[in-house]
């Protein structure tokens, strides 16, 4: 008797990359004797088992092979080598809402999606009541074309369908991160319930909180291979410490690098901070009089961090090179939330009213010590160098958005709600008679 719900053995996926379209034709005509493509292994020799009632998390950077693995698991891609053997019914949330037709009503879409997934009308009909109840959508909406749905409603309906398909193996990806928070919670409760009923769950995600909360075991996927495996907490921490460094220089061991200013004095610049600027996701602008070369968020020991708790004291380090002599200079930063709203921004001049002067060739190190009074969530960090004009138009020397991110983790004890933390206290009194002035 096989106790595994899903078993992967030596799973590999190779893509052929052709420089020109006709190269494939040449290969075909020569029946493969002339090889014109480059091989790209998106996944290499991946093997693992998932037992019934177990939840396994797979984390990794973009490009590590997560989506290829997801597609192989949901059988929408064919493996080049290796096998996937599953016991029973596999449902993949990758497919969430794929078969939905905007012109059809909610109910009609339940049936057509069901058929796309290979279920008969009779089977879906038996599940219809459960699907409708789970979705919490009113009858009126269910009989309207789904094009009139909000994206939240859309996800509700799609998830409700998938939730009721009685899966033995459930494959979940980021799909759940849409929709309102209450429904998300309901979905996760549901996953928990499925798990205790013996359903095997594979969670492929970026969302470290979810991984920590639901997984029994976590694997880190790196360059198409499973590099690490262990308990969720260890793996998430390891993942954060690996972070972006491994993506570009898998063998890089050194954590800092020196740039000479003059013979006797050297500025120590952590290489991770250089990476952050180099790989910054957002726009960069400025007149180029100052070149920001490094930026990173650190804990009290000076090691780079990507996560913090509300209230933690962290440091933002900025390294810059002065390209031209400047008489009016300061440095600043901004934290923006997921809607790209700036939640906090500040520069040095605001703090000490000092206008800096710098000479060409200087290497500058700026450190902001910040009390992270932000609410739980993901924030991006912008760093900049400009003149000290805080109102109206100022001269920007260098401005880099999205050079690093900070995730404020779920608090151990929730002390507030909203975006801003305001210092507050609280008194309470009691009496039996009221008087109104």
């Amino acid at each position: 008797m096989d106790k595994y719900a899903i078993q992967l053995q030596g799973l590999s996926k190779k893509y052929k990359r052709y420089k020109k379209a006709h190269h494939r034709l040449i290969e075909w005509i020569s029946s493969g004797k002339l090889k014109k493509h480059e091989e790209f292994w998106a996944l290499k020799d991946v093997s693992f088992d998932v037992a019934f009632g177990e939840c396994v998390g797979i984390i990794g950077h973009n490009g590590a092979g997560k989506s290829t693995l997801l597609k192989l698991l949901s059988k929408s891609l064919w493996p080049t080598e290796g096998t996937i053997s599953t016991e029973g019914n596999v449902v993949s949330l990758l497919e969430l809402g794929t078969g939905f037709h905007p012109e059809l009503t909610g109910i009609q879409n339940i049936y057509t999606s069901g058929k796309l997934l290979g279920y008969t009308d009779d089977y879906i009909q038996g599940k219809l009541k459960g699907i409708i109840e789970f979705s919490e959508l009113s009858e009126q909406f269910l009989n309207q074309p789904v094009k009139s749905y909000s994206s939240g409603m859309y996800v509700r309906l799609a998830f409700s369908l998938f939730a009721n398909l009685e899966p033995d193996v459930y494959i979940v990806d980021e799909a759940l991160s849409v929709g309102d928070i209450f429904f998300q919670q309901k979905c996760f409760d549901f996953l928990q319930q499925l798990k205790s009923n013996g359903t095997a769950i594979i969670l492929v995600t970026h969302d470290m909180q979810t991984v920590k909360k639901y997984c029994d075991r976590v694997m880190i996927l790196e360059e198409g291979r499973i590099k690490h495996e262990g308990n969720p907490l260890e793996m998430v921490n390891l993942f954060y410490s690996l972070d972006r460094k491994t993506k570009d220089h898998p063998n890089a061991k050194e954590t800092s690098q020196s740039i000479a200013v003059n013979a006797e004095e050297k500025m120590h610049i952590p290489s991770q901070s250089l990476k952050n600027v180099e790989l910054a996701a957002g726009i960069r602008r400025g007149n180029g009089s100052v070149k920001i070369i490094g930026a990173m968020l650190c804990d009290s020991e000076g090691g780079e961090i990507k996560t913090a708790h509300t209230g933690d004291k962290i440091a933002l380090k900025i390294y810059a090179e002065i390209i031209e002599d400047i008489a009016d200079l300061t440095f600043g930063f901004q934290f923006s939330d997921r809607h790209n709203t700036v939640v906090f921004g500040q520069n040095g001049y605001m703090l000490d009213k000092k206008i800096l002067r710098a000479n060409k060739g200087d290497i500058i190190h700026v450190q902001f010590d910040i009390e992270m009074n932000l609410f739980q969530g993901l924030y991006t960090v912008m760093v900049a160098s400009s003149d000290c004009q805080t109102e109206g138009s100022n001269v920007i020397y260098d401005w880099i958005e999205g050079c690093t991110t900070l995730e404020i983790l779920q608090p151990r004890w929730r002390t507030f709600h909203g975006v801003a933390f305001m210092k507050s206290s609280y008194q309470i009194e009691r009496s039996l008679i009221k008087e109104v002035n």
Binding site: K71, S76, W78, E95, T98, G99, K115
Partner: protein, 260 residues
């Protein structure tokens, strides 16, 4: 078997395809009947009233040529549509193929079902029309569905070849549209074989579609049955096309979802 699992998807989509094809027009699904009907009426009017054409040996009626035309052209429309739409079957359904486990061939079979249904509707109309014009529908008409199915099976093999290659070279479906046009003129659909120059009459014998269309003419126009040669060619080319289609599809299949 997967085909069995997805049978209701294939069937339901073929039906809704027919319904939605004319969605938005007030007559809706009725256009599936009206379209071929108007085609047949137009032929009849033009060739019996405007350009009176007669078939050698059938001087009895001026509508005979209209029936001759319809007998070849009506199935041809379905065949051409099958090839053109079928060759895009995988590319058009890329969103599904990228995310779902649904087998690729389901989409080809769905188009095959749609075009076959509309072919049979058109031929049923043609038969009523032939009756109304005072022609007799003989016992040989019973053979017609078999010939039509062979015709579509021949097309199915080709569609598998073109649809598979089209995933890798999108020009195929464009090229195919022109090929289909040329192919029509290489088949005695809008002309009568006897009027051809001898050399050209020889050439069209190498066209497999000649034998199918010949069989339609035999049954519908001449109230006869296809000759042994016709049967032999029709059965063998259908088999050959299906085998080649299967081999091409089978070899390209593992990569289809990688590039789509």
């Amino acid at each position: 078997m997967d085909i069995w699992k997805y049978r209701s998807y294939i069937w339901n989509n073929a039906i809704s395809d027919l319904k939605n094809r004319y969605a938005g027009s007030s007559l809706g699904a009725y256009w599936n009947i009206l379209q071929p009907l108007l085609q047949i009426l137009l032929f009849t009017f033009v060739f019996s009233q405007v350009m009176v054409a007669k078939i050698p040996g059938m001087d009895s009626s001026t509508v005979a040529f209209a029936i001759y035309l319809s007998a070849g052209f009506v199935p041809w429309i379905s065949f051409a549509e099958f090839l053109n739409r079928g060759s895009n079957a995988f590319v058009e359904n890329a969103t599904y193929l990228k995310k779902l486990a649904i087998p690729e061939y389901v989409f080809v079979l769905q188009i095959a079902a749609t075009t076959t249904i509309s072919l049979f509707i058109s031929m049923a109309l043609l038969s009523t029309f032939v009756l109304m014009l005072g022609f007799t529908i003989g016992v040989y008409w019973l053979i017609l569905p078999i010939v039509l199915l062979l015709f579509m099976l021949f097309g199915l093999g080709l569609v598998f070849i073109f649809a598979s290659i089209n995933v890798f070279f999108r020009d195929v479906s464009q090229l195919l549209q022109s090929i289909v046009q040329i192919w029509m003129w290489l088949t005695p659909i809008v002309y009568i074989e006897d009027f051809l120059p001898a050399s050209f009459a020889q050439i069209i014998k190498y066209n497999p579609l000649y034998y199918f269309v010949n069989s339609f003419h035999q049954i519908v126009v001449y109230s006869s049955h296809p000759k042994t040669m016709d049967w032999l060619v029709m059965i063998s080319v259908s088999l050959l096309s299906l085998i080649v289609g299967y081999v091409v599809f089978k070899n390209l299949r593992p990569e289809i979802r990688d590039v789509i």
